[in-house]
Symmetry: C2
Subunit: 372 residues, 2 copies
Amino acid sequence: MDIASSPKETANRKTSGIIDTDVHQSPKSKKDLLPYLPKVWHEQFLTGGIGLSNFYPTPIGVSRKDATPEGDGAAGSDPQFMIEHHLEAYGIEYAILTGGIETALALHPDVDYGNAVIRAYNDYMIENWLPVDPRFKGSIAVNVSDPAEAVKEIQRVGGHPDVVQIIVCSGVKTPYGNRIYHPIYEAAERFGLPFAIHPGSEGKLYPPTPVGYPTRYMEWHNIIPLTFMAHVNSMVCEGVFEKFPGLKFVGIEGGVAWLPHLMWRMDKNYKALRSQTPWLKMLPSEYIKQNVRLTTQPIEEPERPEELVQIFRMIDAEKTVLFSSDYPHWDFDNPKVVLPSMPREMKARILGGTAAELYGLTLRSEQSGGNG
Amino acid sequence: MDIASSPKETANRKTSGIIDTDVHQSPKSKKDLLPYLPKVWHEQFLTGGIGLSNFYPTPIGVSRKDATPEGDGAAGSDPQFMIEHHLEAYGIEYAILTGGIETALALHPDVDYGNAVIRAYNDYMIENWLPVDPRFKGSIAVNVSDPAEAVKEIQRVGGHPDVVQIIVCSGVKTPYGNRIYHPIYEAAERFGLPFAIHPGSEGKLYPPTPVGYPTRYMEWHNIIPLTFMAHVNSMVCEGVFEKFPGLKFVGIEGGVAWLPHLMWRMDKNYKALRSQTPWLKMLPSEYIKQNVRLTTQPIEEPERPEELVQIFRMIDAEKTVLFSSDYPHWDFDNPKVVLPSMPREMKARILGGTAAELYGLTLRSEQSGGNG
């Protein structure tokens, strides 16, 4: 619809009467706007609207279409369905439950609200998921914006025998090496719980890149690993792993193949600039190999799969990389076809061996004396 | 100095007289504070002070101690000294001059000031450097915060026969794929000038990571490549290289070994999400190999040099990577020892062959019919 313009302003009129210069009209429903909007934007507008609550909605939905249980539950909300549809279907011995986006409650300015809802999520998981099947192991969320309360939450539920991990959101205000978080690491180390980060909140507090906002979901999703690189760098440089040598950091869903670059750049700079970090007693790459673990999904898939094997050899992947599927999300990695060309021994470590050590779990192949 | 505290507030006093509650006292000079400050912080405090103008001063100076010419000039300020100390010493056939941090004037809110000083830097270089020696080729700065004026500057000086490149700062407000910059790319393509970014301003406008501020120079320097990854991602996804196929993007001093990860992640996401970028006609990695070039310094140096060769093979480095020394800065890479284990043919391309094609320069080996 194009309408020719004409001047609206007229000088020197003499009138009386009320003119209200701020009256909010609205369509009856979002759908009323559709005839005026090109069809390609309809789905985004109906689900995201003006979009300020989420700049980057996925164009294909968050979850796999086949992962919704019968009845009224959302994908990933029915333990029995998940056992059949995922654990049994792929022969998965343990599933580390990572929850939804409750970790992003740490971004809420009302920390009391954040603390309360995070506690509710943890209690719901402990009551409704962990008792269902011994293959389920839980990650408890904590509110990193209230470290004292996060410590209390670890003390409250971190000792549960089926809780194996602490999980937090990756898109925070301050990198995870900062000393404000150290009390959380003290508690995590004491309880033997790895500290894991998961993406999703990038761009909620700051631009999700150091140079501003990407445009669409794809451009945003491509660049999530920047957050992970910043956290690993910060934790190593700030001496977290010197102060808490038993602490393990797990980067979930943030990519893997950037690690050689980061290790090499950090090691090179450390050799020239280590006067700034006198507390470090090893090369940055040595702390990374000792204390950092990365999960596979979404695994990089070069056209020549042997190139990923080369990358994995550079980072001692048999010690540092853990398999993950991201079930039931859209970009699920299938354990039956993932990591082609990977040597058998390395693949076995990634599929289960390293995670068994990290989370204190026993694989069937160990019980029977086999070779994982 | 520790002083015991005592309560200062006294209720119900009855007095008259003036109390001024904001009077600014000051030491006579910064040096007066030194007796009260542990020695390890003295240099940073004397050069950087409270530090708000630069959170991340280098602890070892910006330039090599041996690069300062005799007399009163700064390192890199005397063309004749640079010819002897660098070009002759290392047998360098052409030096692409990249200037200082004048590109950061694009961050100044007063764009007229930024435009004026950038023009002055360009004119100074054209008058005082380019005529001195045919080995010097110039990069002109432009103010990316005023795209219309940037285009005028390219039209004003971009046609100079010894100007071979446009250079801008990497730490900007909006990623370089954004359409506000496209008029600059149209002019760059028309003049046959690559568009190069250089670090240094990361953290001036936004936090230099997506999750806030690193602590010290080393931690900040480790993570500069995040900016470069964000720009490459943005330029490809926004279709810059489809719209301006002749445009070359050069990432200077932002690292190299992260590129396999970024290419593979972008390609994987493109296969699932390309409905969001219908203007792309090739895989993201194909645009990168065709239009993106990265310079070597500071090159990643794995303990096993053949691992860098593997990385370079993944990115077709003989077409995508350019040698750079960063002379006269502290982290200079020496062309005589850089890239150990690199195959002879690939190293020749990186040391000069690819740059000769990119900047339209003729190497001596070509003139004599030799093999670069």
